[in-house]
């Protein structure tokens, strides 16, 4: 194993050697630099591998043949090795990436780069505070030099501001160092006695030392200079600063915080939180990509500083957590900066150019996911453990703030991704460097690699080894295949998985598995209608299905949450595919992530930090009647309610479902919503009733359900957009299901189960049908259609069956749901919420009739006369659904009987009596077959009568109607469709007022406003920045002083 000292020696040697070369030997100089950095990287990585695999022991390197503290010593441990690997590799890649700029500037620039990397390594290795200072100054000077690489004229000014601030930091450092030395009689970090946090002499000296190091981390709000560097410097340099320098500086701070002892950790926590929240908040108002990345870097480093502040509770997990976040951030941020070097424009929307290069787009998505700690990347495991440690140590405020900050960050990052995917873009990449491209890919690979390593190190098992996820990721490789081939594979995969897993499931799991996965396969039939390659569809869709598959399989809270995140991401990318869906996809992902964080907090709270936490243990918590039980319940419930789009969290749904592609709408509506129900069902199954401040939370849920059912229906009848109408009706239907679940009785759950199945069937069917119509008429506005029955008879039939089923009119399956519903409410105490449900029933009838009438009946428009029936691939699943609906209507027992028995087992209540064909509850009875036959017979008889009486009725033309004794001349004027329920609006229009939208809108607006206001502290004046740094230091000093005394 090569001693780490050679990393430094090599760096210095190379630097001087390059100086020796002639100005014109640029090639040679470049080679030397490359060799040196390569060597340094090789040493670091080999150490990391050796230490991680335990084949080598940590090494202390002494210099001058004298033991510390009398001579400077270095240390190479696991953490150091990891950090060095990141730093040196970043340096190496940056060298390649910046090669043209560096060559242009001459060999000296190369020397500067190499020495910068050497200095950063020294920062990590050294155990001597003054030596630390020396390396710091080296970093400062080198950075100051590299800033010149930028062709941006403003960079020089930025560099100067940076030097000004570094002067102040240097002063503080030196004062701190010398007094610490005076107090301890040693400059060695390991000798820094843990001073009680008194502010006499040493304590204060230590404070100056720490605060100086913290300022080096560019903490909000004393960081204007850093932002200017990030914005103006060459992207390669920014990458280096953000990935390597910040990482090294953070470790330096970490070393001293570790030495300073636990009393100082709160300082790190608080400063970190301020930085994390502040920077992310201000990021909201940014339009310049590099500056935005700067804000995000500052935020992330702040987050790691928070982790540093938690080292007392993290224990052995400390390196795992801190490393997970820090490394992922380094890789992702470097990658993003490198991409920004390829993107010509500086406005966020200019990233739309990435669309011309799918690989870069994929990289972009990957890096964002890494930054946000989404699975399967390393940050995910780290965030999970962090949350659990915080919850375990009752540091809930910290947990809450961290999650809040993460949510804000998600806000601007995903908005940005939306821009990239949806904003107008040039047809091709102007000027595009292949080396840069390669470097980006390297970073991407690194990110995935980290994800794999962290997964391997996780107690929960490696997500990247989960079969469904692998299957989904495989589609990334298969992208070049034609859509039909991928579709075939996808369907096979889904069915295969269900077939493979189904035997192990209990009836309830089985129902969900069939609806979500087998059901997904059925919907995928419609995807055959799409020609071409359909880039990006299958990976997203399959990630969503993988998430669903894992969700059903989940045994522990971790597996559940990981699956939850996966299906959220997948569905987000799916929804984002829609033409107009940019804002809706954003609000979807934000609500979903918010919900996910609530779930995370809930699980963390429940587990009390002990992992792995089996889902069944929720029951134990409930039985133990711990005071935190209701809170766990509340958090988890909130998380799931965001997914079911219950009223209050519903505003994302209409846009998201309505703007999605034809075959995506049924997936996200018919299938995805069920994930929320699944979660709620698990929750209620395990935790049962919980009451908070005397309020029975299930009672609350009943109200929310009823309210959703009602509001959803009312809003649906006022829509002019067919798909929005269906979307709102989904809110209503989910409300029914939630209502049923929350009734907490046997029939209530059966009701919910029936809604899970029915809603999947008829909503998927209707979305496909309406989607088919839209693809023919190119509009979603119902009043622009009309009279399509003759042109699209099959579509009409499926819509007809769909609405009969949904409205609960006998004989179709919807009625069964209503019947169970009545029996359920009769055996429950709830009275008032029922009123809302009663009301929403007939209202559903209104919007459903509007749907079928204004599209298929009434007057056919001239421009639609030549249309054709929807594509056969769209009709195929619809016909399957029609068949199923009728079958399910006649023989509901086939599906429900086992489930019924299972639920009965859970409640210890008597199941329904499934005698022969009739179903009997303790209150009433119901015989589907008889109903079907009776109605059928009567219908046939009456029809026969009619035919007998006027078989010779003649078919007349469209306008042959009695119209005030006149013949209408235009379908537009004759088709009564727009604002169809005007009287209703007159009577109940006030229910339409968008209070919820205003509420959330108000929150986001105020966030943006405060961000835009606050960021004006960065006046751009170097002097002001310097003053801000001092203010920051003094302020913290006074606060801590106050805290101590």
């Amino acid at each position: 194993m090569v001693s780490a000292i050679f990393i430094i020696a090599a760096g210095l040697g190379a630097g001087f050697l390059i100086g020796l070369l002639r100005e014109d030997q640029k090639g040679a100089a470049f080679t030397v630099a490359l060799a040196a950095l390569g060597f340094m990287a090789w040493v670091s990585v080999s150490w990391f591998v050796a230490l991680a695999s335990g084949t080598a022991a940590p090494q202390d390197i002494i210099t001058a043949g004298t033991q510390p503290p009398f001579a400077i010593n270095l240390r190479m441990g696991l953490a150091e090795a990891g950090l060095l690997s990141v730093i040196t590799l970043t340096g190496l890649l940056s060298l390649v990436y910046m090669a043209p700029a560096l060559r242009a500037l001459g060999r000296r620039a190369l020397a500067v780069l190499v020495i910068l990397v050497m200095a950063l390594s020294g920062l990590v290795l050294t155990r001597d505070i003054f030596n630390l200072f020396v390396f710091f100054e080296l970093v400062v000077i080198a950075t100051g030099g590299l800033v010149l690489l930028s062709d941006d004229k403003r960079a020089v000014a930025a560099g100067f501001k940076y030097l000004v601030v570094s002067q102040i930091v240097g002063i503080l450092l030196l004062i701190g160092i010398i007094f610490v030395y005076h107090a301890n009689g040693s400059l060695n970090i390991d000798d820094i006695a843990a001073q009680p946090m008194g502010f006499t002499g040493a304590g204060l000296a230590l404070f100056l030392l720490l605060i100086a190091l913290v300022v080096e981390l560019k903490p909000f709000p004393a960081n204007g200079w850093a932002l200017d560097i990030y914005e103006a410097a060459h992207p390669g340099v920014s990458a280096l600063v953000s990935a390597a320098s910040a990482t090294a500086a953070l470790y330096a701070a970490d070393k001293l915080f570790a030495a300073a002892g636990p009393d100082w950790l709160p300082l790190a926590t608080v400063l970190g939180l301020v930085s994390f929240l502040g920077a992310n908040l201000l990021g909201l108002a940014q339009r310049n990509d590099r500056r935005l990345l700067g804000y995000s870097s500052i935020g992330q480093i702040g987050l790691v500083l928070v982790v540093v502040g938690q080292r007392d509770i993290l224990g052995d997990a400390y390196l795992y957590v801190a490393g997970g976040i820090l490394f992922t951030h380094a890789v992702a941020k470097a990658g993003l900066y490198w991409i920004s070097g390829l993107v010509p424009g500086r406005d966020l929307a200019d990233w739309a150019v990435l669309r011309t290069n799918p690989v870069l787009l994929f990289a972009f998505a990957g890096f964002i996911a890494m930054l946000l700690g989404l699975p399967p990347f390393a940050g995910f495991y780290a965030k999970w453990d962090l949350a659990h440690a915080l919850a375990g140590a009752d540091r809930l405020p910290v947990l809450g703030l961290v999650l809040l900050g993460a949510l804000i960050e998600a806000g601007y990052l995903f908005r940005w991704f939306g821009f990239a995917l949806k904003r107008p873009n040039p047809v091709a990449f102007p000027g595009f460097s292949t080396t840069g491209f390669a470097v980006v890919l390297a970073a991407l690979a690194g990110g995935w690699g980290l994800g794999f390593v962290w997964g391997a190190g996780s107690v929960h098992g490696n997500l990247l080894l989960a079969a469904p996820l692998l299957f989904a990721l495989a589609f990334l490789v298969l992208e070049p295949l034609p859509a039909w081939a991928k579709n075939l594979l996808a369907i096979a995969g889904l069915l295969g998985w269900v077939g493979f897993r189904a035997p192990g499931y209990d009836p309830l799991h089985l129902v969900f598995a069939l609806v979500m996965l087998a059901g997904g396969a059925v919907i995928l039939l419609a995807s055959f209608a799409v020609k071409g390659e359909r880039f990006g569809f299958y990976p997203s869709a399959m990630v969503m299905y993988a998430g669903l598959a894992l969700l059903i399989d989940a045994q522990t809270s971790f597996q559940f949450f990981a699956a939850w995140e996966l299906l959220t991401i997948g569905s987000y990318f799916l929804i984002l595919r829609g033409k107009e869906s940019e804002p809706h996809a954003l609000s979807y992902i934000l609500f979903s992530l918010g919900g996910a964080f609530a779930i995370l907090a809930g699980f963390a709270l429940a587990s009390g930090g002990l992992q792995p936490f089996a889902l069944d243990n929720l029951a134990a918590i409930a039985e133990a009647g711990l005071p935190l039980a209701p809170w766990v319940f509340l958090l988890l419930a909130i998380g799931f309610l965001t997914k079911t789009a219950s009223v209050g969290f519903h505003i994302w749904l209409p846009g998201a479902h309505a703007e999605a592609e034809t075959d995506v709408s049924p997936m996200v509506s018919g299938i995805l919503l069920k994930a929320g129900l699944f979660g709620l069902w698990l929750l209620l199954m395990h935790m049962g009733r919980q009451s908070l401040f005397g309020v029975d939370l299930t009672y609350l849920l009943v109200w929310i359900g009823a309210l959703s059912a009602f509001i959803g229906a009312v809003l649906a009848i006022f829509q002019e957009d067919a798909k929005r109408l269906l979307a709102y009706s989904s809110i209503s239907q989910m409300g029914y299901a939630l209502f049923g679940l929350a009734l907490m009785n046997h029939l209530g759950w059966l009701l919910a189960l029936m809604f899970v199945i029915n809603h999947y069937v008829y909503k998927s069917m209707l979305f496909l049908a309406i989607g088919g119509v839209k693809e023919r008429t190119h509009t979603k506005l119902m009043y622009k259609m009309g009279g399509l029955i003759t042109i699209m008879p099959f579509t009409f039939v499926s819509v007809l069956v769909g609405i009969i089923a949904m409205s609960g009119v006998p004989p179709l399956s919807g009625f069964g749901g209503r019947w169970v519903f009545y029996n359920a409410i009769m055996s429950s105490e709830m009275r008032l919420p029922v009123v809302l449900i009663f009301m929403s029933g007939p209202i559903a009838f209104l919007y459903l009739f509007r749907l079928i009438h204004t599209i298929f009946l009434g007057q056919l428009k001239d421009e639609h006369r030549k249309l054709k029936e929807a594509s056969g691939w769209l009709l195929a699943p619809q016909m399957i659904f029609v068949a199923f609906l009728i079958g399910f209507a006649i023989l509901p027992g086939m599906v429900l009987q086992r489930v019924d028995a299972y639920i009965g087992g859970h409640f210890g209540s008597t199941a329904l009596a499934w005698s022969g064909r009739s179903i009997t509850s303790e209150f009433g009875y119901w015989n589907p077959v008889a109903i079907m036959i009776v109605i059928g017979v009567i219908f046939v008889i009456v029809l026969a009568l009619l035919v007998a009486m006027n078989r010779n009725a003649q078919k007349v033309k469209q306008f042959n109607i009695v119209f005030s004794a006149e013949r209408p001349f235009k379908p537009q004027t004759t088709h009564f469709a727009w604002n169809f329920f005007a009287p209703y609006r007159k009577a109940l229009g006030f229910l339409e007022a968008p209070h919820v939208t205003r509420f959330w809108g108000g929150i986001t607006d105020s966030l943006h406003a405060s961000a835009d206001f606050t960021r004006r502290i960065y006046t751009g004046n170097g002097q002001t920045y310097a003053a801000q740094v001092i203010v920051f230091v003094v302020a913290v000093y006074l606060v801590v002083l106050g805290g101590v005394s």
């Binding site: 100054e137 000014a157 240097g170």
Partner: protein, 118 residues
């Protein structure tokens, strides 16, 4: 005595910072920082100083045997040398930047270089 030196050092630092924070002329700012650095160096050496002892050089005056009792703390002196050189380096760099800025815009007013903000 030593306190005087140290106090003077601190005073220098504050004065330097005051200059650097109030003068908008870049050169004056640099001078201010140099002043502050000098102050830091004074503080550094004053920490090592011990009344009534000799410089840490082992010659006939200070035989090796009794060195420990006779000399002052050598470490700060070693440190201060490094600090001085580094301070010099940064100052030189700042001057170069100042020159470059002046070339670019013909102004040395720090307030004129605020295109980057927010």
């Amino acid at each position: 005595m030593h306190l005087v030196a140290m106090a003077a050092g601190f005073a220098l630092i504050l004065m330097g910072l005051f200059a650097a924070l109030t003068h908008r002329n870049i050169l004056r700012m640099i001078v201010g920082f140099t002043l502050a650095n000098t102050g830091v160096h004074v503080v550094l050496v004053s920490v090592g100083y011990m009344p009534g002892r000799a410089a840490p050089i082992l010659d006939d005056a200070v035989p090796v045997a009794e060195a420990a009792a006779r000399i002052i703390d050598p470490v700060p002196q070693a440190l201060v040398l490094t600090a001085i050189v580094i301070g010099l380096g940064i100052t030189a760099l700042m001057l170069a930047y100042a020159y470059r800025l002046f070339r670019a815009r013909g102004s040395l007013d720090i307030a004129d270089y605020t295109e980057l903000k927010w």
